[in-house]
Structures are given as structure tokens and as C-alpha cells.
């Protein structure tokens, strides 16, 4: 069967089970878009800026088991994808990005809208391709999807010159890939697994640190089984939030810079850290030289380059987290750690996660009420900043893989387009985008996409009139000099209305719950602009350069009236 390049792209996407593409058209891809229109099985979501396409594909991929697909034209279209691709790379999200390129004969001549996008994205993609002839397109797409979703997932970019889209060639979709340089290890080494089991059985103060690898490998059940079998307390990283049910008696919350005090105390005092699908990011470890000073470390990860990168490791296990945990479970001896768990519960008592009473709306309180109204069942997607930390701290995640956020790159503006992708991928679930007024303004134009696509998405803005996280650092470490952080925001309710959706503003604590209920009851997208306490800081906080045991706690201002959970 002879097809042209554009048809080969579409046919190959169908072969890969793709049914949604997020993108924006342009000169070099008009032909491709014309062809996509002839494939009704491929839903096309038109974003308002290519960065939104990449974040939407990212959110879509995290919320489904699929590879996210985004598409842009050459030049500025391609460069606009860059932040989104980098975000997916840092957080190991499977994505394939297609970009148009100038015709082959014009490459290297600084033609109109020509940019070396494979050069630009070389350090932020797992792999990338410039397709030089239609005959290699099918094989390239096959490889790209395989590379994106296997091993440690990541984004792959395929750059296709305009004339390749019209070149005719025989279409045959390969059944398998031929990549001699790419063979991810999935089975953990049995002798390493035995060593790990031995360390766990000898440990008196073990702690599990679970990261995004649990979500990627879908190893939630295995993690729970392991923790219960050996009575291991579980702490998560930011992206590991919802890897383990937070109401579970063995759950000790999120650790790291804005982690729970008791979680950081647990890691600091542990004699064994069992790190699973995480990479010892500096936001989690704090000062590396004093990280878990008494602990031996077992590190389970699919990426061998992560072993020993930041932290010395005693027992490395390279492999798929799900497979390794299953194998580990088989050789593990049941154990109790009564004294250790009692100690942790005492810390939980000393450093509780709670919300104080306040005459104005506290963002933490909004999170608690969001959790109450949605019964902890919603998919929470955040931007980056203070609101992100409060969303991670104060919503109680008991359902697996329900917290979606930009971790590694910390991309402000991720929230709205990512939530859009999440809602497209999981249309039947409640999706809340929790954003800050700063983060939201970076990509709020995607409201137009949400309205056009009739996405029933709920948006909560924690509007404090500041770039809050930076303001907090200025408050604590720069003598309260609020430079370039006060924001004169627009009227977000009017913005919502201008885009053709509904919204309300909340200024009093007693209106928080009714507003959330109204948003939930509304059939269609809904925005709630919460005017929150402007100078509220995120606590606990590990100051930069400090050990995680040296976290700051909130200065006591008023009586505490609400506690996150009853301490066991």
C-alpha cells in the first residue's frame, strides 16, 4: 500500500493506539492537519499556545496508560513546545512530540520558520529524530513510541520536513523495533533482592521513600503489600504523593522541603531507607551530606544512572519497580517495628499538619474543604508555587495516582493545560485544577480551549496577589523586601466570563464550601477565585542548604481548630 508521509503519520498513530492529539497548526504542517481531518479516530484538540499542547499531552499521559502526543509547526511552534518537553523529561512522562520542518532542500539555510529543533531538544528528550525520507517514517514512529513508554519513560521528538509529508512510499508498520543500544533492565537481580530483604529484616528503624516510579510502574498494590508485610512506614516524594493511601496507618505523608515534619524526622532518624522509584532530588534530600546520616540505603529504580548519582547506595536494584517489589515480597520476612512506629506517631503528634483559625480564607482551609466536598476522590492537578505545596499537604490522597504536578522542572503555568489533558484522558472523573494567581496567568489562555472542547473542568485559584513562593523566600531570607512579587491581578471571574464559562469569587471562609459545591454541581467548566490570606507562608519548610531535620514550623498565631486527621 502506497501512502504519503502525512498518511503514514496518521496510520502509525492509529497503530500505536493514539486517539488524541494536542496541537496547533502552521505553514509546515498544513498538509498533515489536512490529512488528520480524514481520520475521525484521531481527536484533535486545538490549544492556544504550543506550550499548552505539550503540558496537555503530559497531563494526558500521566492520567492514562498512554503516550501523550503533541504537534506543532516548525520554528516558533517547535520552540514553544520546549518548556513542555523539558517538563516531561524531568518528570519521566511518556510523550511523542511531532514538529514540522522546512523542506529538506532548505534545511540549514535559515529558511522562514526554520529552527534546529532536534539540536535544541537534544538534552531534554530521551531521543529525537529528524526524518529524512518518508520510507523511514513508520520505523521512526514505532521506535519513538517504544522509547517513550519503556524503561524510564520520557519525551521523544520527531521533526518532519514539509516535503516528507507529501512523499509517497510503501507503508508497512514494523512489528518490532531494532535498537541494539536500548535494552532497559526490568528484572531486578535476584542476589541484590536477597541482600535488600536481609537489610530490611535487620533494620530497626526502616522507612520507605516512594516516588513517581510507583505511579509509572502501577505498583501501588505491591507497595502496600510490602509495607504491611514488614510493617514499614511509608514517606513519599512530592511526585510520589498518592503512591500510598494517606489514611493508612503506615502512611507518614510527604517528605522534603515542604514535607511533613514527622516524615522528615522519620527519614533523618532511620537506620534503613528503602527508596523506590525516586531519584533523591535536592528538594527531597535537603543538605546531601547530612541526609539520613544513620541509614543504609536500598535504591530501587529502573534507571541505572540514578543509582549513586546523589546519594551513596548500599544495595542498588535496577529494574521495574513493580517486578522488583513482587520479587522482594517473596523473600521478605514478616516483621514488627512497634517501638519505631510509636516514635513516629509521637512525632506526628509533635509536628501535626493542621490549619489555624483565621478570619480570612486560608488556602490550606480551601484544600481541606476541597477534599471534604470531593470526598478525596478527585484528580488534583496543580501549577507551581505555594498552592502546589498546600495541595500536596492538605488534600488527603487515598486513591492511587490522583495528584498530578510539575516536580522536577517546577513549571509555573503547568496546571491549567495539564488539567485539560487529564480531563480529556479521564472524562468521567472529577478533575480540579488548583492554581495560584501567578502560575495561572502564565497559561490562562487555555480557558478558550477548555470552553471550545466543552471540558467539565473545575478550577480553584488561590489568589493572594503575590508570586507567593518567591515572596515567602523574600520574607524569610531577603529581609521582607518584596521585589517583583506583588501582582495586580485581573478579575478572574470576568476573565472566566469573557472566555464563556462561569466563575465566582470567594472572600469569606464560610463561603468556601458552598462555592466548591456550586462548582461541582455546575455542568461545565467552573472557576472559583479564592481571595486568600495574602502573606500566608508554606510550613513546614526546610531552609535552603539545611538538613531535612532542621525544618521550620509555622509560628503559632492563633488557636488551632482543625486537625488534618485524628492521630492514631
Amino acid at each position: 500500500m502506497k501512502l504519503n508521509g502525512a498518511q503514514i503519520v496518521c496510520e502509525s498513530l492509529l497503530q500505536e493506539g493514539v486517539n488524541v492529539i494536542f496541537g496547533f497548526p502552521g505553514g509546515k504542517v498544513i498538509g498533515l492537519y489536512d490529512t488528520i481531518a480524514k481520520y475521525p479516530a484521531l481527536q484533535f484538540v486545538l490549544v492556544r499556545h504550543e506550550q499548552g499542547a505539550a503540558h496537555a499531552a503530559d497531563g494526558y499521559a500521566r492520567a492514562t496508560d498512554k503516550v501523550g502526543v503533541c504537534m506543532a509547526t516548525s520554528g516558533p511552534g517547535a520552540t514553544n513546545l520546549v518548556t513542555g518537553i523539558a517538563n516531561a523529561y524531568m518528570d519521566s512522562v511518556p510523550m511523542v512530540a511531532f514538529t514540522g520542518q522546512v523542506p529538506r532542500a532548505d534545511i540549514g539555510k535559515d529558511a522562514f520558520q526554520e529552527i534546529d529543533i532536534t539540536g535544541i531538544t537534544l538534552p531534554i528528550t530521551k531521543h529525537n529524530y529528524l526524518v529524512r525520507e518518508a520510507s523511514s517514517l513508520a520505523e521512526t514512529i514505532k521506535e519513538a513510541f517504544y522509547i517513550a513508554k519503556t524503561g524510564r519513560p520520557g519525551p521523544v521528538l520527531i521533526d518532519i520536513p514539509q516535503d516528507v509529508f507529501v512523499e509517497q512510499t510503501e507503508f508497512h508498520y514494523p512489528a518490532r523495533v531494532n535498537l541494539p543500544g536500548y535494552k532497559p533492565t526490568t528484572e531486578g537481580h535476584p542476589s541484590q533482592i536477597k541482600k535488600a530483604a536481609k537489610l530490611i529484616s535487620e533494620a530497626e528503624r526502616p522507612v520507605v521513600v516512594a516516588g513517581r516510579g510507583i505511579h509509572i510502574a502501577k505498583a501501588h498494590e505491591e507497595l502496600k503489600n510490602l509495607a504491611e508485610a514488614a510493617q514499614l512506614p511509608v514517606v513519599t516524594t512530592l511526585l510520589g504523593v498518592s503512591a500510598f493511601p494517606q489514611s493508612h496507618v503506615l502512611s507518614y505523608g510527604m517528605g522534603g522541603m515542604h514535607g511533613m515534619g514527622y516524615a522528615n524526622k522519620a527519614v533523618d532518624a532511620a537506620d534503613l531507607v528503602i527508596a523506590i522509584g525516586m531519584r533523591f532530588d535536592d528538594r527531597f534530600t535537603g543538605k546531601v551530606s547530612s541526609f539520613a546520616p544513620h541509614a543504609k540505603v536500598i535504591h530501587i529504580d529502573i534507571d541505572p544512572a540514578e543509582i549513586g548519582k546523589n546519594i551513596r547506595v548500599d544495595v542498588p536494584i535496577v529494574g521495574d519497580v513493580k517486578k522488583v517489589l513482587k520479587a522482594l515480597q517473596k523473600v521478605l520476612e514478616p516483621k514488627q517495628h512497634v517501638a519505631w512506629l510509636n516514635q513516629l506517631d509521637e512525632w506526628r503528634h509533635t509536628y501535626p499538619c493542621e490549619v489555624r483559625e483565621c478570619a480570612s480564607v486560608l488556602p490550606q482551609y480551601v484544600m481541606c474543604e476541597l477534599c471534604n466536598v470531593t470526598k478525596g476522590d478527585a484528580l488534583i492537578v496543580t501549577g507551581v508555587g505555594q498552592h502546589q505545596m498546600w495541595a500536596a499537604q492538605h488534600y488527603i490522597y487515598n486513591k492511587a495516582d490522583t495528584f498530578i504536578s510539575s516536580g522536577g522542572l517546577g513549571t509555573m503555568g503547568f496546571g491549567l493545560p495539564a488539567a485539560m489533558g487529564v480531563k480529556v484522558g479521564r472524562p468521567d472523573e472529577t478533575v480540579w485544577c488548583i492554581d495560584g494567581d501567578g502560575s495561572f496567568q502564565m497559561t490562562l489562555h487555555e480557558l478558550a480551549t477548555i470552553v471550545q472542547e466543552k471540558l467539565n473542568l473545575k478550577i480553584a485559584i488561590m489568589n493572594n496577589g503575590y508570586l507567593g513562593m518567591v515572596r515567602q523566600w523574600q520574607d524569610l531570607f531577603f529581609g521582607k523586601r518584596y521585589v517583583a512579587t506583588p501582582l495586580t491581578g485581573p478579575d478572574f471571574v470576568k476573565i472566566a466570563e469573557a472566555y464563556g464559562m462561569n466563575g465566582i469569587r470567594v472572600t469569606r471562609p464560610e463561603d468556601v464550601r458552598p462555592a466548591i459545591e456550586r462548582a461541582m454541581a455546575h455542568d461545565g467548566p467552573f472557576l472559583v477565585d479564592f481571595i486568600v490570606e495574602p502573606e500566608e507562608n508554606v510550613y513546614p519548610m526546610v531552609p535552603p542548604g539545611a538538613s531535612i531535620a532542621e525544618f521550620l514550623v509555622a509560628p503559632k498565631k492563633e488557636a488551632l481548630t482543625w486537625s488534618r486527621r485524628s492521630t492514631p
Binding site: 537534544l122 531521543h127 541494539p180 543500544g181 534507571d303 544512572a305 549513586g308 548519582k309
Partner: protein, 179 residues
């Protein structure tokens, strides 16, 4: 930890941009590549790179692991600690007059180097050997007036019947047993 010279051997797929991918991994970690030599290997469509870099063992090992992850890199090993044969090639153009020519020829002879070009004012000498040999010869020639030097990067092979990959594997297994 002290920075030392490391020699890495990589087998890479013969694809456009592969040199860029390899170099980029060193660039972003701030390595200065001392030399890099690329050419066809004994395998079809596979090139062999010999990369010489300075760095601490941990930094080089991290770079090696990142190299190993690159899709177009089939294998990569650090052969610094192996028993290796390493060679460099240099062409040196030296000022030569009727007075100095015989002295220069004598030096070339001692180093078993070849004269590849002669003119009234110059001699071009070709030498191969390890880095020390090439360096010492150039040093001796400096007194006559070196006009030009062209050096190819180091290429290296592990001594004995095994290639770099099996040797590294065997050593790792030995180490594991020793643990």
C-alpha cells in the same frame, strides 16, 4: 576527590548527530574533552569512539552511565584501569636548514618516526605512539622551531584476546564476587 585522566571506549550507531549526542553529555557536565577519535569499527554500521576526559571517578562514571543511556550508544566502557595499548598519531612540521637537518633526522630515527615531507626550509615528521612518546619527541624538536603540529586523538585497545566490553564485564563480576 582528585580529577584524573580517563579513557572511555564507546561503540555507537553510525547515525547523523551521534557525535553531538555524545559530546553534549560531557558538555552539560562541564567536562573538557581532551581528545575524541571516531572511526569505523569491526562491526557494520557501528563506529568506535575513544574519548579522553579529565574528571573525578564519580563524575566520569555518571557521564558514562548517561552515555550508556543514549539510544544510539550501543556500549560504553571506561578502560582506564585496564591493561591497554594506546596510540596517538602526530604530524610535526619543523624548520630545517642544511645545518640542522641531520640532527632532526637523528631525533626522528631515535623515535622511529617517519619523514613524510621534505623541503628546503622544513621537514614533516610523522610519529605514532603513546602520549609520552609523542610529547617527548615534540619537546626535543621545539629547539629547531616547530612550525605546525597536527595530532589525532588517542585510540586504545585492551591487550589480550578479549574486547573492551567482555573485559569490563569479567572485571565487574570478579568485583561482585569479591564483595
Amino acid at each position: 576527590m582528585v580529577a584524573t585522566q580517563h579513557t572511555l571506549v564507546a561503540l555507537v550507531q553510525d547515525k547523523p548527530g551521534v557525535l553531538n549526542r555524545v559530546a553534549s553529555i560531557f558538555r552539560r557536565r562541564g567536562f573538557n574533552i581532551d581528545s575524541i577519535a571516531v572511526g569505523h569499527s569491526e562491526l557494520p554500521n557501528i563506529s568506535r569512539m575513544t574519548i579522553v576526559v579529565n574528571g573525578t571517578s564519580t563524575m566520569v562514571e555518571q557521564a558514562r552511565k548517561q552515555l550508556a543511556k543514549a539510544i544510539n550508544v550501543v556500549k560504553v566502557v571506561d578502560i582506564t584501569e585496564e591493561n591497554i595499548t594506546a596510540r596517538e598519531l602526530a604530524l610535526v612540521k619543523v624548520k630545517a636548514t642544511s645545518d640542522t637537518r641531520s640532527d632532526i633526522l637523528e631525533i626522528a630515527d631515535i623515535f622511529r618516526a617517519n619523514i613524510v615531507d621534505v623541503s628546503m626550509e622544513s621537514l614533516t615528521i610523522e610519529t605514532t605512539g603513546d602520549e609520552d612518546k609523542v610529547e617527548s619527541m615534540i619537546k626535543l624538536l621545539q629547539g629547531f622551531g616547530v612550525m605546525e603540529i597536527a595530532r589525532a586523538g588517542k585510540i586504545a585497545m585492551v591487550r589480550g584476546p578479549l574486547g573492551p566490553m567482555p573485559v569490563a564485564k569479567a572485571r565487574n563480576e570478579f568485583r561482585k564476587k569479591a564483595d
